[in-house]
Amino acid sequence: MAYQITYKNHITPQEYITENSRWYLDSDCGRKLTGSAIVTVSSRTYVSSLAVTNTPSASLTSSQDFIYIKNTGGGSADDVLVSLDGGTTYYIVLSEGESLATKIATTASVKVKCDTGNDSTVEHLKGT
């Protein structure tokens, strides 16, 4: 059986003008920004809840083409840090409710952890 993952990432930059007491679409951008793509995979795995602590998780990916991670806010609902390089660097941070969806190199090794003393939970979907 074949599987498809359609994913869409969109952002709306806004600027606040105190004089008018309101938020506007950021005038440096002038519009909302969005992108959508389809990843076709032969297998996929969905995990609805994974506890995250300061101890880095086992790698969530092995020769995967796609990863989606959402901080679902269990435990203390702290920020979750995401690494694509097996835990060497944690460039990405997900607050409660926030998610990451991206196609990745098959050599990527995705790990998650929290800062010292923090914890949360994530759901994730991966495909290859």
Binding site: N9, T12, E15, G30, G35, Y91, V93
Partner: protein
């Protein structure tokens, strides 16, 4: 001048499985029964600075302004593009691949010095050479032996260590990626570390790609 800035974000995932029908009428795609729902998340990023590092913090000019900035990665010009050399720490990053056939690969690696490449370190990556001349030059360096002591190019084991793309995010045509950075306990990166590779590393893309981005400190 904006008095504050924020960025509202959203991600939407539709996992689907393909069902084969009795007759060859094509695959019927339905919601993945293993997952059983669509996925996604929303957030509002509030810690971006109201005073950005440059007007180039977005690749766009407001539609009422001209000319519109377009950044194009072309296989005939370069395969690796550095977004900017600013050293501000990134709080938020968004990029879209506006191409139709080639993917792009994102690296947040600062890269190394000219002589820091290690052939025995699997995480090191040789600078990608895109033209036939440069690909050949790699072997030329190795075979150069005019002098045994003084020639600069003589050390054949030293190759430029470019930014690492091996364990990176890929943006397919039409797709976009955003991420927030700088969390407590995490790793910060700076604007000059953001590099874009035309193609799915290490395969060079063969068609030009326009990109749009937002990179906020």
């Amino acid at each position: 001048m904006a008095d504050e800035r924020r960025i509202i974000t959203g991600t939407h995932i539709i996992p689907k499985e393909g069902n084969t029908m009795e007759e060859a009428v094509g695959t019927k795609w339905i919601l993945d029964t293993h997952v059983g729902k669509t996925l996604g998340g929303k957030s509002t990023v509030t810690d971006v600075n109201k005073d950005q590092w440059h007007d180039d913090w977005t690749s766009m000019d407001h539609p009422s302004l001209t000319p519109t900035t377009t950044i194009t990665l072309s296989p005939t010009v370069q395969s690796v593009y550095q977004l900017d050399d600013d050293t501000s720490t990134v709080k938020f990053f968004y990029m879209k691949n506006k191409g139709v056939s080639a993917s792009i690969t994102i690296s947040l690696d600062s890269g190394g010095d000219w002589d820091s490449y290690s052939t025995t370190d699997a995480s090191d990556e040789e600078w990608q050479l895109t033209t036939a001349e440069w690909q050949a030059a790699s072997s030329n360096w190795q075979t150069y032996s005019d002098d045994t002591t003084t020639d600069f190019w003589e050390n054949t084991t030293r190759l430029w260590e470019g930014p690492g793309f091996a364990k990176s995010a890929i943006i397919p045509p039409g797709g976009a990626l955003y991420m927030r950075s700088g969390g407590s306990g995490g790793t910060s990166f700076t604007i000059n570390q953001v590099h874009v590779y035309l193609g799915e590393y290490p395969t060079n893309g063969t068609s030009a790609v326009d990109i749009e981005y937002v990179i906020a400190k």
